[in-house]
């Protein structure tokens, strides 16, 4: 059991997927503080961040089979922590919004326009090949097969690249909505 403490993330994850549950403890020790700080950076509440970080770690355990090693484990956790915290905050915000029960269509349109601007700004900061792929697929409506043909890649490789880009963009988008565009752009290197 103790010998697992010195092994790589990849080996621990393999063990965990095989059912060696103690591997989770080592991953927990390694990454729960990182997750805590990620949650705290969003919610600005230490008590809540502690609760959320536990939930994020347990969620990661429950969904470990969905981690396919295409990114670093820390990046995967970072995305889960970001989404989980934002979801928590939005749910709580939604409760108070619902209680006021005054929908404002004009504001929604403005929000939507602003969100599009944010998204385009984020896309424009992506590496050129990643940006081109996303724009061709989602703006120009090119098919996966056509993109594969144009870029000399298989359809599955295109799908994988699109998936990674979407995940990265989603995390950055969430950051931008919470902290502003500048903070999100500064986070590019961390992702």
């Amino acid at each position: 059991m103790e010998t697992l403490a010195a092994v790589s993330d990849e080996a621990l994850i393999t063990e965990l997927k095989k059912g060696v549950k103690s591997a989770f403890g080592h991953l927990y020790t390694r990454y729960s503080k990182l997750v805590f700080h990620r949650c705290f950076s969003i919610c600005k509440d230490r008590d809540l961040a502690f609760d959320l970080s536990q939930e994020v770690m347990l969620k990661a355990w429950e969904n470990i089979n969905q981690f396919r090693g295409e990114s670093k484990f820390s990046t995967w956790l970072y995305v889960i922590a970001t989404r989980h915290t934002l979801l928590y905050l939005s749910r709580n915000k939604r409760v108070s919004t619902d209680s006021s029960a005054i929908p404002d269509e004009v504001e929604s349109k403005d929000d939507s326009e602003e969100n599009n601007i944010v998204m385009m700004a984020l896309i424009s900061h992506l590496p050129p090949d990643e940006r081109q792929l996303l724009l061709l697929k989602y703006k120009e409506g090119e098919s996966v097969e056509a993109l594969g043909h144009a870029l000399h890649l298989s359809a599955s490789a295109i799908k994988m690249r699109l998936k990674r880009s979407r995940e990265r963009l989603n995390a950055l988008y969430a950051l931008a909505l919470t902290y502003g565009l500048e903070s999100a752009l500064n986070s590019f290197e961390m992702m």
Binding site: M1, G25, K33, F50, S53
Partner: protein, 177 residues
């Protein structure tokens, strides 16, 4: 008397503590299906170290999941109060007589003054003597060696049977104080 949902409480004064004792206390909470709480009190000038407390707890949870693997839903609740530790904790015990307190003797509770201070309250108390060589298998052994106060006398005999202990504890908690 207003019924209060019982909890397993691990007091932590912010200094050194035994990860093994923490893990044992959390495992006890899981076995008897009670929520697990860490109680901590910090003086106002030390409140900056709140984040340190959370770091310690996350570290301790990592230890717990390593040594007691298999409890995916166990969560630690932390209550941090402001004030000197012992009087603050005593006030807490007064308000939560149903809680079961697991004391790590490596903390400052081992001396007579503190121990008797805690025993003045009706809470169940478990003073752990040693948790070395902790494994899932020796959970009962550690309990058998512990000093137990205000809990049913045969509590430790049945500790490996979570359902039974849970019933036992609930009967005890539901007693007239």
């Amino acid at each position: 008397m207003i019924f209060q949902a019982p909890r397993v409480v691990f007091p932590f004064h912010g200094g050194k503590f035994s990860l093994s004792s923490y893990a044992w206390a959390k495992e006890l909470a899981g076995k008897v299906h009670l929520p697990f709480y860490v109680f901590c009190a910090l003086s106002p000038e030390n409140l900056f170290s709140k984040i340190h407390i959370y770091h310690e707890m996350l570290e301790a949870d990592g230890y717990y999941f390593t040594h007691y693997p298999g409890h995916a839903s166990d969560k630690t609740h932390v209550r941090i109060k402001t004030g000197d530790f012992l009087p603050t904790f005593q006030r807490y015990l007064q308000c939560h007589p149903s809680d079961i307190v697991v004391v790590d003797q490596r903390q400052d509770f081992s001396d007579v003054e503190h121990a008797s201070g805690l025993m003045a309250y009706p809470n169940g108390l478990i003073f752990l003597r040693s948790c070395e060589g902790i494994t899932q298998d020796n959970f009962s052994h550690i309990l058998a060696n512990a000093e137990i106060h205000h809990l049913p006398s045969d509590f430790y005999l049945h500790s490996h049977r979570g359902g039974y202990v849970s019933k036992l504890l609930r009967n005890w908690i539901g007693r007239e104080n």
